[in-house]
Amino acid sequence: MLMRPFLTMQLGDRIITLMAALVLVLQIAMVAQRWIVTHIRIFAAQSFFLAIIAATIAWLNHAPHIYIAAVLTLVVKVVLVPILFERLVDRMQIHKEIEPIVNVPLSVLIAGGLTLVGYVVAESFYRPDEGGLGHNALAVAISLFLIGFFTMINRRKALTQVLALLSLENGLFLAAISLTYGMPLIVELGVFFDVLVAAMVLGILVYRIRESFESIDVSRLRRLRG
């Protein structure tokens, strides 16, 4: 490992907090977004910041297996999945989201409220005797989870729902990193593999829905009832 003397605990903590705040801001920006391509790019940026957080935690705690998690995040979520989805958007020629169920200003406010809920929940996990590394990151992780869940319910285009699901998984990744310093390597590999395959499978499904329904508006998927 490179010995960088200025990367002290305090600076590392600051970087993590900063990145966590950026991740949160990006998640809220995703709620307010209308263009699907921008959605994909925000997701890529969010995953990039997560990879930085993972790398910083790995450095500060001398836990090499988290480096691998960071690299996996970079490869899978910053490069592969966004490329996959941008190509899908290209093929489908669907660029804009339609009006969500709850209108945008209200959903942004709800996202803010969910962030507060995330903080409150994370509070109960806070153990002051451990390093303060977990506190902010865990709160952001839970907020990401809740906001991603809300966005999935709120949005009507299938691709946006998939992106919300992936950002939810981003939150889980961050929670794993901050709570337990990552998961064992095999589990990490398995989870990333699952995420990649899930993205591919869902992408294929979205494409086929587009072909059959001439739209990816999931509120049209209403034939099976009762």
Binding site: R14, T17, L18, A20, A21, L22, L24, V25, I28, A29, A32, V104, P105, L106, V108, L109, A111, G112, T115, L116, Y119, E123, N136, A139
Partner: protein
């Protein structure tokens, strides 16, 4: 006492002189970015001189509000400008609860501007006024939340104290609360100064105007006062933004040589901010009016989160 007076006068002159320059710089930079030559950075001065020399046409249906508005707007903005730390951390005028007074004065100006727009009885004026009120109804809470966040960090709402607390902690702005507040305040800046993506300051089409529509009936010296006040308001908000969060180069007080250094720093930071604004304006398109609340909702949420995070982090 005398020093106070000198400080006030100095800041007054700085405000009056610098405001049109900033407007001109932004316009010219925008033009250059669009590969035009632009009107030159001193054009607003020439415009002001032109307007002051012209005669006025006042609508018959106007009341005393119409004539009072330009003066009220101008003076409230100037007084607000005297209350912010521009060159020194020590703001020359410190009225009741610095930050709150600034917001109040700016709000007062906006209120009378909206009334003036309504007063002339033209429908475009009313259109502009209602739009302006819609936007400010959402922008103002966001601004207040962001400023309160910073105030909590400094322990007081006095802008002098806020700037003073910021000096010496150069990396403080990396704290999430500060960053979120900065983001919120930046969005509010765009809304309040009527820049793209909220309002196009260079539009000729009445139906797309917000600020311009309110002042459509004004001419001559009144128009000059209002436009000057608008530039001053823009300068005030920009200075507020940069000096609360990036207080590099803020002097502790208005001393002789130090003041020059302070002015130099201020100009540099203003230039940088102007470049960012120009970039933002060029890259984005103007939002439809009904989309503006979305942008401001984001600003409000960021401000609220910033405020709450000062307690939680």
């Amino acid at each position: 006492m005398i020093e106070r007076l000198i400080e006030n006068v100095a800041q007054l002159i700085l405000l009056l002189a610098l405001a049109p320059l900033v407007t001109g710089t932004i316009r010219t930079l925008k033009a250059r970015l669009q590969t035009r030559r632009g009107p030159g950075i001193f054009q607003p001065y020439r415009d002001l001189r032109k307007h002051f020399g012209k005669s006025m046409v006042i609508p018959e249906t106007a009341s005393w509000i119409f004539t009072a508005t330009p003066w009220i707007v101008f003076f409230s903005t100037v007084i607000a400008g005297l209350m912010i730390p521009m060159v020194a951390a020590d703001a020359p005028l410190g009225l009741f609860g610095g930050a709150l007074a600034v917001i109040f004065l700016l709000g007062l100006g906006r209120f009378f501007l909206a009334l003036g727009g309504l007063d002339s009885g033209s429908s475009f004026g009313g259109l502009g006024s209602s739009r302006e009120m819609t936007i400010s109804a959402l922008a103002e809470p966001a601004m207040m939340l962001a400023i309160f966040t910073v105030a909590i960090g400094a322990g007081s709402t006095g802008l002098t104290e806020i700037a003073g607390a910021a000096i010496g902690q150069n990396w403080r702005f990396l704290a999430p609360a500060q960053m979120l507040a900065f983001a919120a305040l930046a969005l509010v800046l765009i809304a309040e100064t009527g820049r793209i993506p909220v309002d196009n300051p260079a539009t000729h089409l009445e139906l797309t105007m917000i600020h311009e529509a309110m002042i459509l009936e004004y001419s001559g010296p009144y128009l000059a006062l209002i436009e000057w006040a608008a530039s001053i308001k823009q300068l005030v908000l920009m200075t507020l933004l940069i000096n609360c969060f990036w207080p590099f180069g803020l002097q502790p007080a208005w001393f002789g040589f130090g003041a020059l250094k302070g002015i130099a720093w201020l100009l540099a930071k203003l230039f940088l901010l102007s470049c960012s604004i120009v970039l933002l304006e060029t890259v984005n398109a103007k939002l439809r009016l009904f989309r503006v609340p979305e942008l401001l909702a984001v600003a409000f949420t960021l401000g609220a989160l910033a405020l709450v995070s000062t307690f939680l982090f």
